[in-house]
């Protein structure tokens, strides 16, 4: 850590980790309801459990993005943050808004569009928090060095805030409602969030592998170019069956197939950069998380996205467990893992210590990736069977579900392993230093 104000990032990482655990716990609970459906069915029905699961995910990812930004910005811009006080105030406002929203959900206070359930006043709060954040980071960049990494990161973060405004537009016509809802959901996760992902990954490659900035920056523009050129019109793959014109089946199929390209290029990028590494950074666990991020994102967002995306296939798979399989691995690979990679790198720096528990961190990475992969496979097989029984043979939804129990039990088990791996990861960040490591730290200060 070179700049004092980078410290505010730690607050965001603590908040993100807390909500990450909440997300996993509610995920495990939802998986429990799938196999033991009478669980809490009156006090905590499935719709509320799922709402907390998805909202906690989105909020902690945002918190992680903000923490990552506050961490990397001073180093990139070579200047202190414009206002660390504002960043701290912004954190507490965000955390309180999230907490109030979640507690409200438990008492059935919410709006009704998927992922946008936050009550109106909380949505306004989110906009205020986003404006404070953008104000702070934009002024920091303006007074410091401008790099490609910060340019693209800011582009992504501004885009994130702008597209969220569509959350306030809820037309009475259901078809229109759905079309503009995707302006938030799709243009976030298959649009501007990819810019955030790519720029954080590029920062980690520069720091962990010491590669030449010029090389990284050229890659970066190519990756995000591929992301937006494919992702913007790729939105069409959500417009096949919601009352939109038929031409979206052609446009959506073509462009969303190309959405594999940015994810493939991120795998190539991270591995080529690691091969070219100018030095071996002491934090090899952070490097493993970064490389695994690109690989899991490629499978989850790239391959599993493609499995569902061609219109003639999607006609049968739309809204089945195949969608759930893709959703889980895509969010995990791309956005959960980039945040965990950044934490694996930045937390030891922020706490001014050597990355002491690297073996634990690496084991957590492997267990989490394997558990998420098995979860995805079990949901994939459930989805294939669902398509066969329900969509082709025409059996009713519930009769079909009764025949998928085995897959849901497997998914339940994998959720438990994800929880264990998350605790191992948190342990690797915060467990006290071992004696040998303390000595090592005195001998060799970590390379920034």
């Amino acid at each position: 850590m070179k700049y004092q104000t980078q410290k505010v990032a730690m607050l965001y990482f603590y908040g993100a980790i807390g909500l990450f655990l909440a997300q996993i716990l509610f995920g495990v609970l939802a998986a429990t309801i799938y196999v033991l459906p009478n669980t809490f069915s009156v006090v905590l029905p499935f719709n509320i459990v799922r709402m907390v699961h998805t909202n906690a995910l989105v909020v902690w990812l945002l918190m992680g993005f903000m923490g990552s930004t506050y961490y990397l910005l001073p180093e990139e811009a070579e200047t202190e943050l414009f206002s660390p006080k504002l960043a701290i105030l912004q954190f507490w406002m965000f955390l309180i808004a999230a907490a109030v929203a979640v507690v409200g959900y438990l008492f059935h206070i919410h709006e009704g569009r998927e992922f946008l359930e936050q009550p109106f006043i909380i949505k306004v709060g989110i906009v205020v928090v986003a404006l404070m954040f953008l104000f702070n980071i934009t002024l920091t960049v303006l007074k410091g060095r401008k790099t490609t990494v910060t340019n693209i990161l800011l582009f992504g973060l501004w885009g994130l805030a702008v597209f969220f405004l569509f959350a306030f537009y809820n037309p009475a016509n259901l078809a229109l409602d759905k079309m503009y809802w995707w302006y938030v959901i799709h243009l976030w996760v298959e649009g501007v969030w990819e810019l955030i992902l790519a720029s954080i990954l590029a920062f980690l490659m520069i720091k962990l592998n010491g590669v030449d900035r010029e090389v990284v920056e050229k890659w970066l523009y190519v990756i995000i170019g591929l992301a937006l050129f494919s992702g913007i019109l790729g939105t069409g793959h959500h417009y096949y069956w919601i009352g939109a014109p038929g031409y979206w089946q052609w446009i959506g199929s073509l462009f969303s197939t190309l959405e594999i390209a940015p994810f493939f290029s991120m795998v190539a990028f991270s591995f080529v950069m690691t091969k070219k590494a100018g030095r071996k950074h002491p934090n090899q666990a952070a490097l493993l998380w970064s490389l695994a991020c690109s690989v899991m994102a490629f499978f989850g967002a790239g391959i599993w996205g493609f499995l569902n995306t061609l219109a003639p296939v999607n006609y049968y798979t739309h809204g089945t467990q195949l969608t759930a399989a893709h959703g889980h691995l895509a969010f995990f690979g791309a956005y959960v893992m980039i945040n965990l990679a950044m934490m694996a790198y930045a937390v030891p720096e922020l706490l001014n210590r050597m990355p002491t528990h690297q073996t634990l961190s690496k084991a957590a990475c492997w267990i989490m990736c394997i558990a998420m992969s098995v979860m995805t496979l079990s949901l994939t097989f459930a989805g294939i069977k669902q398509v066969e029984l329900q969509r082709i043979a025409g059996e009713s939804f519930m009769d079909t579900q009764d025949q998928l129990a085995l897959f849901y039990w497997i998914r339940f088990g994998t959720g438990f392993f994800v929880l264990v791996a998350a605790l191992m990861f948190i342990g690797s960040l915060f467990l006290p230093k071992r004696r040998a490591a303390v000595v090592a730290q005195v001998v060799a200060q970590p390379a920034g």
Partner: protein, 150 residues
Amino acid sequence: MAERLTKTGARNVFYGGSVFFFTIFVGLTAHSHYYMKTVSTDEKTLTESVVRGKKVWERNSCINCHTLLGEGAYFAPELGNVWKRWGGDQDPEGARDMLKAWMAAQPSGIEGRRQMPQFNLTDQEVHDLADFLEWASKIKTQNWPPNDAG
């Protein structure tokens, strides 16, 4: 990475291309908006009770168990075509009665079966919800879902 492509070149391609594709996307959205209002949905039948029914749908977060036109959670049946599945296109009054009886009977409490909560809807709310589901079932969806099972 090709040596001919400079960083400035890559940057310009990125910004230019993004503006290009986003412009097309906005244009197609505008057309789709018009198409939805005039072709695929019937705005004349989008009555106040349909709008109120959509509010009932949202207030009770039905989307976090069910799917509607394939979007939502995958825990409970698709409802975009439930009106048709329950015979509402032939016998609307029959379908309304079924919906009312169904909502009143939840949760079933049957062991080992997924439970739908009791939402304590008023007669008016059930009526509005039926109107909303009926209206939704008439959206022209390129013939999705493949069959009545949804």
